[in-house]
C-alpha cells in the first residue's frame, strides 16, 4: 500500500466523517459486500469516493472475496474518536503472542541459512506483530474503561448482576485468562525469555554478517519493542483489574449476602428463633442479662426456655424415699424428754408444730405425733375432737390430743 500523507488522511476523515462512521457501524457486524459499500458511498458528494476510500486504506478488500472490511488502523482511530472500543478476547492476545515465537524461530532459521531476505521479512513481521499486540492492549484498556463507565452510569435500580453483566463478562473471559497467561509462573514469561535470548543471539550473529546493517537496526528496535510489550502487558493487566475489581467485588458481595441470609433463615426455620446459632461476636448489647426477670425480652427468653424444656423421667418422691434422702434430724427420745418437761400439754400437735415445725418435715412431724399417740411411752393422752393445724408447708386436719400424765403420774407442778 502506498504511503499515505497524514494530513491528507486526516482531512479526508473530517470531510467524509458521515460516510466513514456509517462504514464503521456496518463493519461491526461483519465484512461489507461491494454493493453495500457502493450504496453507502452514495452518501458522499465527493467524486470517485470509493477509490479514495481504498487509496486511503479506510477499506480493504478481503483476499479472494468481493467483500470489504475497514482497515485495522482506521478502525482503531474511529473507535478512539467515538469512544467505542470493543473488548477483544484473551485468546486473541494468546494467538498473537504465540505468533511471536513462530517468527522468532523463522529468524533463527534464516540466520542459519544466511538468507537475508527471509530474515528481513520475518523481522518486519515480528515488529508488526508486536505493534499489533500493543494496539490491541491499548484498545482493550479503553474498552474496559468504557465498560466500567457504562456500568457505573446505568440506573441503580437495575440489579448489580445485570447492571454489571458486561463487567463480569470482561472479568471472567478476559482479565482472568490473561492473568493466568502472563503471571510470572505462566507460559508466556518463559516464552518472552526465550524470544529475548534468541534475538540477542541473532543480534550477535548478525554483527558478524557483512551487509546486514539494516537488519541489525531492525533487531535493535525489536529488542526494545519486546521489552516494551512485556511491561505494557503487565501495566494493562494491572489497570484493567484495578478498574473492574471493585465492581466485580460488589456483585459478588451482593450474591454472598443474599446466599448467607437464605442459609441463616433456613437455620432459624429448622431450629427455631431462639435456638438457631448466631456468631458469638454478634450480640449488640454487652451487659449480661440480670437474674431477675424484669424486662419484656427476658420474659420472652424465659418463656422460650420453658417451651424448650424437656423433663427428664424421674421416680416419684415418696414419703419413704424422702426419709431416706433426709435422715430424721430429731431424736424421738429427746422429743419425749422435752414433752415430759412441758406436761401437761393441752394440744400435742400444736406443741410439736410450735417446737419442731422449722426443723423437721411434715412427714417427721406426723411420725412424732403418731408415735406419742400409739406407744405413749408412759404418757397418757386424751382425745379432744379434731382441729385444723397450720405448718410452714401445709394445712392439715387431725385429732387433738391432750397429754397430761407421765407413767400414770401427773407431773408435779
Amino acid at each position: 500500500m502506498p504511503r499515505i500523507e497524514p494530513r491528507s488522511f486526516l482531512r479526508f476523515i473530517v470531510d467524509e466523517w458521515p460516510l466513514i462512521e456509517a462504514i464503521y457501524e456496518r463493519t461491526q457486524t461483519g465484512p461489507l459486500r461491494a454493493q453495500t459499500l457502493f450504496d453507502l458511498a452514495d452518501m458522499s458528494k465527493t467524486p470517485n469516493v470509493m477509490q479514495r476510500l481504498i487509496d486511503m486504506g479506510v477499506v480493504v478488500q478481503l483476499p479472494h472475496s468481493p467483500s470489504f472490511e475497514m482497515g485495522d488502523f482506521v478502525q482503531d482511530i474511529i473507535a478512539d474518536l467515538k469512544k467505542e472500543h470493543t473488548l477483544g478476547l484473551a485468546l486473541e492476545i494468546r494467538v498473537y503472542l504465540e505468533d511471536l515465537n513462530r517468527h522468532t524461530r523463522q529468524i533463527v532459521a534464516a540466520l542459519e541459512e544466511k538468507d537475508l531476505e527471509k530474515l528481513h521479512r520475518h523481522a518486519v513481521a515480528l515488529d508488526s506483530r508486536i505493534k499489533t499486540i500493543l494496539r490491541h492492549l491499548h484498545n482493550n484498556t479503553a474498552a474496559v474503561d468504557e465498560i466500567v463507565l457504562r456500568a457505573k452510569t446505568r440506573r441503580t435500580y437495575v440489579p448489580a448482576r445485570q447492571r454489571y453483566g458486561e463487567v463480569l463478562e470482561a472479568w471472567e473471559s478476559y482479565v482472568e485468562p490473561l492473568r493466568e497467561m502472563v503471571e510470572p509462573s505462566g507460559p508466556f514469561e518463559a516464552l518472552f525469555e526465550r524470544i529475548e535470548r534468541e534475538l540477542a543471539h541473532a543480534t550477535r550473529k548478525l554483527a558478524k554478517l557483512s551487509g546486514a546493517i539494516k537488519e541489525r537496526r531492525i533487531f535493535d528496535v525489536l529488542v526494545y519493542r519486546l521489552v516494551q510489550l512485556r511491561s505494557q502487558l503487565k501495566i494493562h493487566l494491572t489497570l484493567t483489574a484495578e478498574r473492574l475489581l471493585p465492581l466485580v467485588r460488589e456483585v459478588r458481595r451482593n450474591s454472598a449476602v443474599a446466599r448467607g441470609a437464605t442459609i441463616a433463615l433456613q437455620r432459624i426455620r429448622r431450629d427455631g428463633f431462639f435456638v438457631a446459632p448466631i456468631p458469638e461476636w454478634l450480640p449488640v448489647q454487652r451487659k449480661v442479662a440480670p437474674n431477675a426477670v424484669s424486662a419484656e425480652e427476658h420474659i420472652e427468653a424465659y418463656v422460650a426456655d420453658i417451651s424448650k424444656f424437656k423433663p427428664k423421667p424421674q421416680r416419684l418422691i415418696t414419703s419413704g424415699s424422702l426419709r431416706a434422702q433426709s435422715p430424721r434430724r430429731i431424736d424421738p427420745e429427746r422429743v419425749l424428754g422435752q414433752l415430759r418437761d412441758d406436761l401437761p400439754v393441752e394440744d400435742l400437735l400444736d406443741w410439736l408444730i410450735g417446737n419442731y415445725d422449722r426443723t423437721v418435715d411434715l412427714d417427721d412431724l406426723l411420725d412424732l405425733y403418731f408415735m406419742v399417740r400409739d406407744q405413749g411411752k408412759g404418757l397418757e393422752t386424751v382425745p379432744d375432737g379434731r382441729h385444723w393445724y397450720e405448718t410452714r408447708t401445709h394445712r392439715i386436719e387431725a385429732p387433738t390430743l391432750r397429754v397430761d400424765r407421765i407413767g400414770g403420774r401427773r407431773k408435779k407442778r
Binding site: R252, N254, A258, I263, L265, I278, L282, E297
Partner: protein, 198 residues
C-alpha cells in the same frame, strides 16, 4: 500512658452510651469525633474498666460483647429482620448489600412488604404485624444506633454491617464448601479464588 480526666469531658456520656449497647457512628457527630480524636485514651481507659472498645474501619464504635454472653432477644430479632430484609430485596431483584448499606427505604412500604412475604418467620420472632416491625426498628435499630428514621424514611447506618457480615461469612463459607467439593470432584484441580479480599 497518662490520662488526664479533664481532657476527656465526654467520658461519662460516652461510657453510658456505649455501655447501653449503642453503636456510635459518624452521624453521632459530637461523641463520634470525640472518640475518634482520642481513641487511644478512651480505649485504654475502658479496658481498665473491663470493656473492650471495638473500632470498625467502616466508621463505627461499640463495646465488644463479653465472652459467652447470652444471645439476647434484641440481637436475635434484629438479625432476623436484616436476614428477612436481604431475602426480600433479593426476591425483588434488588442488590441486598448495596441497598441496605447505602439505600433509603419507605418505612411503611418496607414493613408491610416484609410482613406480607415473611409473616411466618417474623411471627416466630415475636413480630406479628407491620406495626410491630416498625416498633422493633425504632426501638432496636434506631435506639442502638443502627438506623436513622426521618419521617417515613428509613436509612441504615454503618453498624448494620455487623449483621451483613454474618451473611457474608455464611455465604462465603458455602462458596468455599462448594469449591472444595468441586476441587475434590476434579481430582484436586485448583479453582479461582474469590477476588474480594474483605
Amino acid at each position: 500512658m497518662k490520662i488526664e480526666l479533664e481532657d476527656l469531658p465526654k467520658l461519662k456520656e460516652l461510657f453510658q452510651t456505649l455501655q447501653s449497647g449503642y453503636h456510635l457512628s459518624n452521624e453521632d457527630f459530637g461523641l463520634y469525633h470525640e472518640l475518634q480524636d482520642k481513641e487511644g485514651y478512651y480505649e485504654a481507659l475502658f479496658r481498665e474498666l473491663g470493656y473492650t472498645l471495638k473500632a470498625d474501619q467502616r466508621g463505627y464504635y461499640y463495646f465488644l460483647p463479653e465472652p459467652q454472653v447470652a444471645m439476647n432477644v434484641t440481637t436475635r430479632r434484629m438479625a432476623l429482620l436484616v436476614f428477612v430484609l436481604i431475602e426480600y430485596l433479593a426476591d425483588e431483584g434488588m442488590d441486598p448489600y448495596t441497598g441496605i448499606a447505602r439505600g433509603n427505604f419507605s418505612m411503611t412500604q418496607i414493613t408491610s412488604g416484609l410482613f406480607s412475604k415473611h409473616a411466618d418467620i417474623l411471627r416466630d420472632g415475636g413480630l406479628d404485624s407491620p406495626e410491630s416491625i416498625e416498633k422493633s426498628i425504632l426501638n432496636n435499630f434506631v435506639g442502638l444506633g443502627f438506623a436513622t428514621v426521618n419521617g417515613d424514611e428509613l436509612r441504615f447506618r454503618p453498624p448494620v454491617n455487623r449483621f451483613l457480615d454474618v451473611c457474608l461469612e455464611l455465604g462465603r463459607a458455602r462458596v468455599t464448601e462448594e469449591n472444595d467439593s468441586k476441587t475434590e470432584a476434579a481430582g484436586g484441580a485448583v479453582t479461582a479464588e474469590e477476588p474480594d479480599g474483605n
